[in-house]
């Protein structure tokens, strides 16, 4: 998966969200439509145009105290309305390791 650290231009090809890591503990978080953050992908604000993505990212980056490294990530919106990660990298961030923890949680 191409690292979003190399994300140069903001141009989205489908439904997307803004994701980051929470500053105090590094946990994966998603920007919500209420200008806050949630640890649940299902609570994320969905953007469908590049302009909306830019605006959501700008608003997210402005919260430098709460979140680190915000970027735009693709998602899939399923027929039942469920939001699913758009690639393996985001699936791992959202759902956890594919290997199981060395020490079971």
């Amino acid at each position: 998966m191409t690292s979003p650290l190399e994300q140069k231009k903001i141009k989205i090809a489908g439904p997307s969200v803004v994701t980051a890591n929470r500053t105090w503990d590094g946990a994966v978080i998603y920007r919500t439509a209420q200008q806050g953050w949630s640890a649940e992908l299902s609570n994320a604000a969905i953007v469908r145009t590049s302009d909306d993505a830019r605006a959501l990212l700008a608003e997210s980056v402005a919260d430098d105290v709460g979140a680190v490294g915000a970027y735009i990530a693709p998602v899939e919106v399923r027929d039942n309305g469920r939001i699913a990660p758009g690639n393996l990298r985001e699936q791992i961030r959202s759902e956890g390791l594919t290997i199981g923890l060395t020490v079971p949680a």
Partner: protein, 551 residues
């Protein structure tokens, strides 16, 4: 073990206080992430996919049992109960909270452990042979020189903002277990014709996007001059190394672009101006450092004790002994490699409980000392041969007696896409599947020494270029693919592996590796010909044909 003094302890405590204040200011918003990033990196704190990752240095791979227990404590108290030993004698914690990091650092500082310069564009952890001080035939203990270099380069202002990270490895044995030829500077301790201790100095090695084997820049530098000579290299690098392009910033690129002869002339010119300066190592200084390393009071023991003769009748013990037990410089003792590569497990991971239990075993059977090797295994460096049978059983009870050291399932792997923000593809599940495919110990022994290295991206933390079989994860149209190289090696005959053909998808990697191994078994000229020697003799073509003929 090296005994730290009051100066060392003060330095660590001040560093913890400084970082505690920096974290506090970051969490309050007084520092932005842009301002804070470099500060956290200088303390070994990265941001990965799921959380912060905390990298702790284990200088020259030597740990006391007390230190290992403290590493276990950090895993249990601040992380999720385990740690990951890396290819550069560090341990990484994957789930640490920024808010708790200062407390974790303070706990580590109490036992003389820190995370300084485990990240950032500075001098990284100076690594060495994990058998240092106990390997037969060693020129002398390379950790003395590692410690001198560590002290000199830690927080050295001139080397805190290098063009890029900088790694030094030191060995004192003919057989290179420290991979010095793939380091920015590789140092090999040697004796001159006059019997004086010095170093063959190599420079410009490295893996990553543009791999190079290090070249000898000076065949002999006297021990008293090693600080000034290393500093001369760093000064030339600091002056000419590129800061405009991160991909061309390592010293290997500078050495390659200038050519080793011109680079050597630049270094020589610099060195001549400073070699007889305050950097000249007085013999008393070296002796002072040497005196702070303590060595066990070995007993006079028989070469073949009765306990070992008796245990030799147990095939399970013998299988473990053959792969895990190595000669020691003192009669009656052995070096025991502790495999962190259980079948189906993530390579290099150890649980807090395993670390605690191993610390207890080190106290009982290894004079309280543990070593960490770049192959992501641990070692007990001073085990009396009479204790091997009972140690084996104890290791087996805690899951640390997998008899696969140096065999096909002793895989080196980076964390890959399961953890790492730079990765393109997963490494650990590939390693896990391969360990299952080669779980049969008889088959693994039949195959013999074979090193598989896996990296999840071109940054090559799994050292895939120098694996006998190297596996590199890449991305193609959003899918994980893997390039396979064969014939690499990281020892004194280090060389890069050769790509055998197009990348294969995730689901086929284990099948491809099995095909390569089967081809080797059919092609080798005898049971004694190692995989890497068969590749050298025949080239990659027969392996390529086997892999791609039906794909």
């Amino acid at each position: 073990m090296y005994a730290y003094d009051e100066l060392d302890r003060t330095l660590l405590n001040e560093r913890v206080s400084e970082f505690r204040d920096q974290v506090k200011r970051r969490l309050s918003g007084e520092l932005t992430e842009d301002e804070f990033k470099m500060l956290r990196l200088q303390n070994g704190v990265y941001l990965q996919l799921h959380a912060y990752m905390f990298r702790v240095a284990i200088p020259y791979g030597t740990l006391s049992s007390k230190q290992l227990r403290r590493l276990a404590h950090v895993a249990r108290r601040y992380d999720r109960g385990y740690g990951h030993f890396t290819t550069r004698q560090n341990i990484q914690y994957n789930w640490i909270k920024l808010a708790e990091l200062p407390d974790a650092l303070a706990d580590l500082a109490e036992v003389g452990i820190h995370a300084m310069q485990t990240s950032g564009n500075n001098m990284r952890n100076v690594t060495s042979d994990q058998w240092a001080g106990v390997a037969p035939g060693e020129i002398e203990d390379p950790r003395i020189w590692s410690e001198i270099l560590r002290q000199h380069t830690t927080l050295h202002p001139e080397f805190s903002f290098l063009p890029r990270k900088f790694k030094i490895a030191i060995t004192a044995s003919e057989h290179d277990r420290a991979a010095i030829k793939v380091h920015d500077i590789g140092l090999k301790l040697i004796k001159s014709a006059e019997g004086e201790t010095g170093f063959e100095v190599l420079v410009g090695g490295g893996l990553g996007r543009t791999p190079f084997i290090a070249k000898t820049i000076k065949p002999f530098v006297h021990g008293r001059d090693i600080l000034s000579y290393v500093e001369a290299i760093l000064r030339v690098y600091n002056q000419y190394g590129r800061r405009d392009n991160i991909y061309k910033a390592r010293i290997k690129i500078l050495v390659h672009e200038l050519g080793i002869e011109k680079f050597a002339r630049e270094v020589e010119e610099e060195w001549q101006q400073m070699r007889d300066s305050a950097l000249t190592l007085d013999a008393a200084v070296v002796e002072e450092i040497r005196s702070r390393f303590s060595y066990p009071a070995y007993e006079k023991l028989p070469h073949m004790p009765d306990q070992l003769k008796k245990a030799a009748h147990d095939p399970l013990f013998e299988r473990w002994r053959r792969n895990s037990v190595f000669p020691h410089k003192v009669q009656g003792y052995s070096i025991v490699t502790v495999s962190l590569k259980p079948v189906g497990g993530p390579p290099g991971d150890a649980t807090a409980d395993q670390m605690d239990a191993l610390a207890d075993l080190a106290d009982r059977y290894s004079f309280g000392e543990i070593r960490v090797g770049h192959e992501q295994n641990l070692a007990l460096p001073h085990v009396a041969k009479r204790d091997l049978p009972v140690l084996w059983k104890a290791l087996d009870r805690i899951g640390l007696a997998t008899p696969n050291v140096n065999l096909v399932s002793d895989i080196i792997a980076c964390p890959g896409l399961d953890y790492c923000s730079l990765a393109n593809a997963r490494s650990i599940p590939i390693a896990q599947e391969l360990t299952r495919r080669f779980a049969n110990h008889d088959t693994a022994n039949l195959i013999g020494r074979l090193h598989i290295n896996i990296s999840g991206c071109i940054n090559a933390c799994g050292h895939h270029h120098v694996g006998h079989i190297g596996i590199l994860g890449v991305e193609k149209n959003g899918e994980e693919f893997y390039q396979i190289t064969i014939g690499g090696r990281a020892d004194e005959n280090a060389q890069m592996g050769t790509l055998i053909g197009p990348a294969v998808p995730y689901a086929e990697v284990a099948d491809v590796i099995e095909d390569i191994v089967e081809a080797y078994l059919a092609l080798r000229d005898s049971e004694g010909e190692l995989f890497v020697d068969t590749v050298k003799r025949l080239g990659v073509e027969p392996f390529k044909e086997r892999v791609y003929a039906t794909r």
